[in-house]
């Protein structure tokens, strides 16, 4: 039952987060901006349409969107969105969490190559490179949190009771900073990628799905929104102390996720995307920051 409620929450609430980011950017730029629910309209529109499928492709082309929607859904089951532990929680679930998104990456990049398009190949190459460099940062963060929380599951990382902010605040700040960079890179946000760009040569995530259309494209949009939501929830869970009462935890949690959305919007308003050659340096920096956190908690 709780698992179902949790899945519903992620499925329904995730496009709203995109609306919050876009509204933040609009306000910062002095625009009215698109409606808060625009992402819902876009997804609904895509799902209603027919699809155009390239004659070059095979069945792999449709595996991409299918796995891209499954991965964040299953990953969300490992998050303790409200309460003591997640519907799916066991020692080492963090590894499954990361590898689920890796499976999705395999399928979406393979689907991109299935079209034989040079642009999609370019996007796949960038996605693979940046994700490879972002993954050690996630694991350094896991190591630090495992030491601080004494457990080895997302539930133990995200339901610490607040005392960890007194004992290991410096390490936690470093982990959160590093993971925020990972969040931006993994979800193709500025400064790694610009979701609003319309130049195929410079895009990463969007260019990989140039050939997907109709329902498949709608599911990709939805999957991307859920992935962003899950990553925001991960960071929110580490920041917030858990009280144990769902009436306090759930609103605080959702508020924190929206706040992270606002921060993403502020980052996107405040800076331009990096040159592609600079991106690996920033990601290695993220790994080093999280590595320092490990050294701090082990000392």
């Amino acid at each position: 039952m709780r698992a179902l409620a949790q899945i519903l929450l992620v499925v329904v609430a995730s496009p709203f987060l995109l609306g919050v980011i876009n509204r933040t950017k609009a306000i910062m730029a002095g625009r009215t901006g698109q409606p808060l629910l625009q992402a819902y309209y876009d997804i609904a529109k895509s799902l209603r349409k027919g699809s155009v499928i390239s004659t070059t492709t095979t069945w792999i082309f449709l595996v991409g969107p299918a796995v891209a929607i499954v991965a964040p859904l299953l990953a969300s089951l490992m998050l303790p969105l409200a309460g003591a532990s997640a519907p799916l929680s066991f020692t080492g679930d963090i590894i499954v969490f990361v590898y689920l998104f890796a499976l999705a990456r395999f399928c979406t990049t393979a689907a991109a190559l299935d079209t034989g398009s040079a642009f999609e190949g370019m996007g796949a190459a960038r996605e693979l490179t940046f994700a490879a460099l972002a993954e050690p940062a996630l694991f350094f963060g896991f190591l630090a949190l495992a030491r601080v929380s004494g457990g080895l599951s997302l539930s133990s990382f995200m339901t610490m009771d607040g005392r960890h902010w007194q004992s290991a605040s410096a390490a936690l700040v470093l982990v959160i900073a590093s993971w925020f960079l990972v969040l931006l890179a993994e979800n193709s946000r500025v400064p790694f990628d610009d979701p609003n760009t319309h130049l195929e040569l410079t895009m990463i995530h969007e260019v990989m799905v140039l050939d997907h259309s109709g329902p498949a494209f709608g599911l990709i949009l939805w999957g991307a929104a859920m992935k962003l939501f899950v990553y925001c929830a991960l960071i929110a869970g580490v920041i917030l102390p858990a009280t144990g009462s769902i009436l306090v935890d759930l609103p605080a949690f959702l508020g924190a996720i929206l706040a992270i959305g606002v921060v993403i919007g502020l980052v996107e308003s405040g800076m331009a995307r990096l040159r592609l050659v600079r991106v690996p340096q920033l990601l290695v920096t993220a790994s080093l920051i999280a590595g320092f956190a490990v050294v701090l908690v082990l000392r």
Partner: protein, 650 residues
């Protein structure tokens, strides 16, 4: 019982090739039946060996150092099972890959049978002399198999480098065996006396074992022979070498480790550093390859690195006094031995099928094969997902255990630099996994997806039934271990208990149960979601790929595998500078020009071959001794004798 079955299986494997030598056209057709019979018998023996107690078979046939003794314990059976499986699968595959009518068909069958049979003998040898002798036959059989196409200079060179490297390793192993004998006064594998690890002889055994078994296993930087040999051999031999032969180095290492009553820190740290270096650089070099089989060969180095990381965690944690972490490390390493044997063999066989059909090993000349060879594509995809360590296939399970080992030491109260090293395995493994993913998206995408990049690739056809049938059991085993790891857990636990006799066993089934549930959930959800997407996309129209305004998409405009990899290899340029031949400044009206780049192997091409050329130059100064005239040789022998006589008289 198990020893008897294993011995019969090994003999049948050896005998299978001999049918190819018999006169008459019909006898060579018996080969696959005999080798499959041997494989099944042997697998039955391994199953009994893994579930029951140890058993041994002593033949009244004196060999130097004692009797001929085949002994099967859980560890031997664990390593021998993939060898038997690969023997049967390879025998069936060869039936159509290298059909009986073709040139050197007998050569391939004879040496493949000998290789398979003697491999098992190495793994079940109850005495060190038999162990070394069988290993030597394995090396020679593998040498002839690598040199199958010896008209080509590349094959000859690969075979000679393999032979030379193997014999350097063999020298070190001779010393290991001699030292073991000096400590135990017997040629059998028996536990060393207490405190042996602290003796000079014990330390020498560790150092020589890492060097000798490291060469055999292909651990970086001792991997010089591996990429060339794997690329030159026929596909089913590459599968055998990569899936099973290099694992004997791991077997040797584990067997020697299990004889000590204490393991020193230095040994664990060396293993861990070698493992991390092998895994990260192995996959980085794999990304830079343009040849499909060389790419797979460098992945063998990566996976051996992962196995050695697991062993390193085991040794170091055992020395630290963290038995649970150590057990997880050993168990993860052993399970990865099985898993790598399965998915790498699957990859080599399906790659061989693609190479067979398209007539080239160059990744950038294939493409679009999934439409023409759907079964081969599915087999390669299964292997690719498994080798990237992705759920729900088997690679994930063993990497999960090694991750747990690495994370397990986070709670260690003593946080010195050795436990930091264990912790470092987790991010290193994450980086390795993500790079492997990039590499296999590149390989799968460029070979099987998109449009054909050459005429041969566009005319490719699906492989015959025997080749596809050979891949099926490997793919099914990958899926079975991934979806039901708790079934493997008891066998793995028994093998690990033999590998690390001092550690209290850990209940692996309980650890792997949630992984099993997760894997089944992932598989089910993906299948449901795929059916859903396919249903949603029913109302469809077909059109050429959207290429931003170009009228027709042409194959040459596709993103090549090399371009795909370049963004990653650029990050590793510090470790593997590429040799680039590019056209200089182009004139106003440029003519046709070419661009070519390749990444030479750092150890072989940049260090070892120049060093050996230097040694050859130095040797040139004493070449006058080698005049070819008998008188000179007699005279120098005589002179040496006189000098020695005088010296001894003084």
């Amino acid at each position: 019982m198990s020893a008897l079955l294993v011995a019969i299986g090994a003999l049948l494997c050896i005998a299978s090739g001999l049918f190819a030598l018999l006169p008459g056209r019909g006898s060579i057709r018996a080969t696959p039946f005999v080798i499959v019979a041997g494989s099944l018998t042997g697998l039955a023996g391994c199953a009994i060996g893994l579930t029951g107690g140890p058993s041994s078979l002593t033949l009244r046939w004196a060999i130097p150092g004692g009797e001929l003794r085949i002994s099967v314990d859980a560890l031997s059976a664990f390593f021998a099972a993939p060898a038997f499986l690969m023997a049967g699968v390879g025998g069936v595959y060869a039936e159509r890959y290298w059909p009986a009518g073709e040139r050197r068909a007998a050569h391939v069958r004879v040496f493949f049978g000998i290789l398979a049979g003697c491999l098992v003998t190495v793994l079940t040898a109850g005495n060190t002399i038999l162990f070394l002798a069988a290993w030597e036959i394995v090396t020679i059989a593998a040498f002839f198999l690598v040199a199958t196409e010896h008209e080509e200079a590349e094959s000859r060179q690969a075979a000679w480098i393999y032979l030379a490297a193997s014999h350097v390793a063999m020298l070190a192993l001779f010393a290991v065996v001699a030292l073991l004998h000096a400590l135990t006064h017997t040629w059998a594998f028996v536990p060393l006396p207490a405190g042996a690890a602290a003796l000079t002889a014990g330390k020498a055994i560790f150092a020589l074992a890492i060097f000798g078994f490291g060469i055999k296993a292909g651990v970086m930087p001792f991997h010089v022979w591996l990429p060339g040999a794997h690329a030159a051999a026929p596909a089913h031999v590459s599968a055998m070498m990569s899936g099973v032969v290099i694992k004997m180095g791991i077997y040797g290492l584990v067997r020697v480790l299990s004889l000590f009553d204490a393991l020193p820190f230095a040994f664990g740290t060396t293993l861990l550093i070698l493992g991390i270096v092998s895994s990260i650089l192995g996959v980085a070099f794999a990304l830079a390859q343009h040849d499909l089989k060389r790419l797979l060969a460098y992945h063998s180095i990566e996976n051996i690195g992962i196995i050695v990381c697991g062993l390193g965690i085991g040794v170091l944690a055992q020395a630290h006094g963290a038995p649970r972490v150590a057990f997880l490390g050993f168990a993860g390493a052993l399970l990865h031995v099985w898993n790598h044997g399965l998915f790498k063999a699957l990859l080599f066989l399906s790659a061989g099928s693609a190479i067979h059909a398209s007539g080239t090993r160059a990744i950038d000349r294939m493409g679009g094969l999934a439409r023409r060879m759907p079964w081969t594509a599915l087999a390669f995809l299964t292997g690719a997902i498994a080798i990237c360590g992705l759920p729900p296939l088997n690679g994930f399970v063993s990497e999960f255990l090694i991750y747990l080992g690495s994370f397990g030491s986070v709670a260690a109260p003593r946080a010195d630099w050795t436990s930091l090293l264990i912790l470092g395995v987790a991010p290193a493994l994450a980086l390795t996994g993500a790079l492997a993913l990039a590499c296999f998206v590149k390989a799968f995408g460029a070979v099987f997806l998109g449009m054909p990049r050459s005429d041969e690739a566009s005319l490719a056809h699906e492989s015959p039934l025997a080749m596809r049938a050979a891949m099926a059991p490997l793919a099914l085993a990958c899926a079975a271990i991934g979806l039901a790891p708790t079934l493997v857990a008891p066998l793995l636990g028994r093998a690990t208990a033999v590998a690390a006799p001092l550690l209290p066993p850990v209940e692996l089934g309980a650890i792997l149960a949630p992984v099993q549930a997760g894997a089944i959930a992932v598989a089910l959800c993906c299948a449901i979601a795929f059916a859903l997407v396919a249903r949603l996309a029913r109302s469809r129209s077909a059109a050429p790929t959207w290429d931003c305004g170009y009228a027709t998409a042409v194959p040459r405009a596709q993103y090549t595998a090399s371009s795909l990899a370049q963004s990653v290899t650029g990050v590793f340029a510090w470790a593997m500078p590429a040799v680039v031949h590019e056209p200089g400044k182009l004139p106003l009206f440029p003519r046709a020009s070419t661009f070519e780049s390749h990444v030479p192997d750092p150890v072989l091409d940049r260090a070892l071959l120049p060093a050996l050329r230097g040694a050859e130059w130095l040797a040139g100064f004493v070449r006058f001794l080698q005049s070819g005239r008998l008188q000179y040789y007699l005279m120098s022998i005589g002179l040496t004798l006189v000098v020695l006589l005088v010296w001894s008289a003084l």
